[in-house]
């Protein structure tokens, strides 16, 4: 073990990185898509496309629905429409076990909408932090995230010429060199983002990974999260009936109090009781912090402001800032697009790292080298990088083509996603490396490019109309699909072209650009 510090760090970066690369790619990929969770959910529920975000917030209609369907519920919650979510939701819990019920309304017409059951964009969010395995998944993702942090730090240590190579990318050079350039350049440029997103990602679940403080304080994670939120318990019901005060003036008052900030939801505890109170909370994403949105409590009978809930505790605010930085609820469309781009860069850093590993070994051992380990790594690269895009395309198609009233619909959608992914792995193991890349990339490109066709066939707002009406949150999904289809198609073409005629292509390019 007489090695230099840098060599041991290089070893750790190479092998630690390789071990986690597929999992990390999946986590980054799903996390990047989660920046558009609400848009994806909306796209995946074509029944909601009719609802136009307008001047009305659908408050009166929601109240009417709640009065009619849940007159005896302990509490009603009305989620107000926002720029990314055009519908109003009326929610209540009922029965002995507090079963949750929800009715979705078109805010403009007050009509009840019946969206199909779907995994929605939340599928990617849940997969991102739990791999859909609940607590076990938290731990697997946590270990991988820690490895990501290790890879970032060791990556900086072993990068000998960070400033000299800052702008260096030589696609004309040999394959490992070109990919290493891409890996380094994107990694260095995206480093602030990567460090922030990785560290804040660890912190979002810190109460799972390091619960000592919580346990000493005699709390569990439910209590911890409950206390984090500034909202308080509702008072006991009095059992005396009373009329509910008008809501609109309270909402206006709340808006004025928060400098015109948008509102998130209205919760009415004990509606119809003399002890009724009304909590109005600010819409999330007004500032950087998340999960600690302030709320106002009004009396339900005379509309008097009873209390203002804010969360100013330093620990809660620290958590709120890191959580907020991670989920980026504050990002307006332009910034959201930038963050999505950075997430994609994160995927590129991880994917290019995996490709460098393979390309270096191929260069050392020759292209014919076919040890089992290398084959497995190559196949996993294909299945996890191209296959993930393909499975996403399959999920979006399944969402459109499966019957809307299908029982256990979200489960079937998940089965399509994971089934497609598994098939990609089998395909990658059976086919030669280049063919596997090309076929999966092109099939993924085809599926994504034809998403507008899926909408035409099976319902939803067609792309041209969505664009003409300025409904960018719906059009964006299909437009992004077209963009990624072009990118994946080009990547599939490049992989084939460079593999078919590496010498010719390299020579041509060297002549085209002056020597460096």
């Amino acid at each position: 073990m007489k090695q230099g510090f840098r060599q041991s760090m290089a070893w750790l970066h190479t092998w630690g990185g390789l071990l986690c690369t597929w999992l990390l790619f999946a986590v980054f990929f799903a996390g990047t898509l989660s920046f558009y969770r609400e848009e994806l959910t909306l796209w995946m529920q074509p029944e909601l496309h009719e609802a136009q975000p307008g001047s009305d917030d659908g408050l009166a209609a929601a109240l009417a629905v709640l009065r009619q369907r849940a007159p005896d519920a302990k509490s009603w919650t009305i989620a107000l429409p926002g720029p990314r979510d055009p519908v109003t939701e009326a929610r209540w819990s009922h029965g002995k076990f507090d079963r949750k019920a929800v009715v979705v309304l078109d805010p403009a017409t007050g009509q009840v909408l019946e969206p199909r059951d779907t995994v929605g964009g939340s599928f990617f969010r849940n997969f991102h932090f739990s791999l859909l395995l609940k607590r076990t998944g938290y731990w697997i993702v946590g270990v991988a995230t820690l490895m990501m942090l290790v890879a970032l730090i060791t990556g900086v240590v072993i990068h000998k010429k960070i400033f000299k190579d800052f702008f260096t990318f030589r696609p004309g050079k040999s394959k490992p060199r070109a990919w290493l350039d891409a890996h380094n350049a994107t990694g260095v440029m995206a480093l602030p983002f990567l460090l922030t997103i990785t560290y804040s990602g660890l912190l979002t679940l810190a109460y799972v990974y390091m619960p000592a403080g919580m346990i000493v304080a005699g709390a569990d994670s439910e209590k911890f999260l409950g206390e984090l939120s500034p909202r308080q318990e509702a008072p006991e019901a009095l059992g005396r009936p009373a009329t509910l005060t008008a809501l609109a003036p309270l909402l206006a008052q709340a808006r004025a109090r928060w400098d015109g900030a948008a509102l998130g939801s209205v919760t009415i505890h004990h509606p119809g009781d003399a002890a009724a109170v009304i909590d109005v909370s600010r819409r999330r994403g007004t500032g950087v912090t998340a999960r600690i949105e302030p709320a106002l409590r009004f009396s339900g009978t005379d509309g008097r402001l009873v209390a203002e809930y804010r969360q100013d505790g330093p620990a809660a605010v620290t958590y709120g800032v890191f959580y907020g930085l991670h989920v980026a609820w504050f990002a307006e469309p332009f910034l959201r697009a930038l963050l999505f781009g950075m997430g994609a860069m994160g995927c590129l850093v991880i994917a290019s790292g995996a490709v460098v590993w393979g390309a270096k070994r191929r260069e050392q051992h020759g292209a014919g080298h076919a040890a089992l380990g290398y084959r497995a790594v190559e196949a996993l690269n294909v299945a996890c990088i191209a296959g993930m895009a393909l499975a996403t395309g399959v999920l979006l198609w399944a969402n459109r083509l499966l019957p809307a009233a299908l029982a256990e619909r979200p489960l079937v959608e998940k089965q399509w996603f994971f089934g497609a992914w598994l098939l990609c792995l089998v395909h990658a193991l059976l086919r030669p490396r280049i063919a596997a890349w090309r076929e999966q990339l092109w099939l993924a490109a085809l599926l994504l490019a034809l998403l507008p066709l899926a909408t035409t066939l099976a319902g939803g707002l067609p792309l041209p109309q969505a664009m003409l009406q300025g409904r960018w949150s719906i059009a964006g999904v299909e437009l992004a699909g077209l963009g990624f289809a072009a990118l994946l198609g080009w990547a599939g073409y490049r992989i084939t072209a460079t593999a078919a005629a590496p010498q010719r292509l390299r020579r041509a390019r060297r002549q085209a650009e002056p020597a460096t």
Binding site: K164, F166, F167, T168, F169, R170, P171, G172, A182, A185, T186, M189, A190, P192, F193, T196, G287, V288, L325, A328, F330, A331, E332, F334, L335, L338, L339, G341, M342, M345, E513, P514, T516
Partner: protein, 108 residues
């Protein structure tokens, strides 16, 4: 306006890149003197700082710095990946985009 921050960051990165002797010949077909290099480096740093100001002016102190870092990363990566493929277009973009963004800002 955050679009301005993005193009300022792009122009800043390109100035810093041009300040480096190894990038001068492929991009400009000649090597610049040390004074020009220093000037370019100073201009690059100034443009990045101006981008910070634009981001904070557009989005405030809480979100502005986050947006600035996003602008730095996205414009930087776009520049690095595009430079060897289309060097002339990269140079032209740096000359055209910031005034264009300013114009958009003024029209609004």
């Amino acid at each position: 306006m955050s679009l301005l921050a993005l193009v300022l960051a792009y122009a800043g990165w390109l100035s810093l890149c041009l300040a480096m002797p190894r990038h001068q010949r492929p991009l400009l077909q000649r090597e610049l003197g040390t004074t020009s290099g220093r000037l370019l480096r100073a201009a690059g740093a100034a443009l990045l700082v101006a981008g910070f100001a634009a981001a904070v002016a557009a989005l405030g102190w809480q979100i502005g710095p986050v947006a600035w870092i996003a602008c730095l990363a996205v414009s930087g990566i776009a520049l690095v990946l595009a430079l060897p493929l289309a060097p002339r277009a990269c140079l032209r973009a740096a000359a055209v985009l910031p005034p264009l963004a300013l114009l958009v800002l003024l029209i609004r």
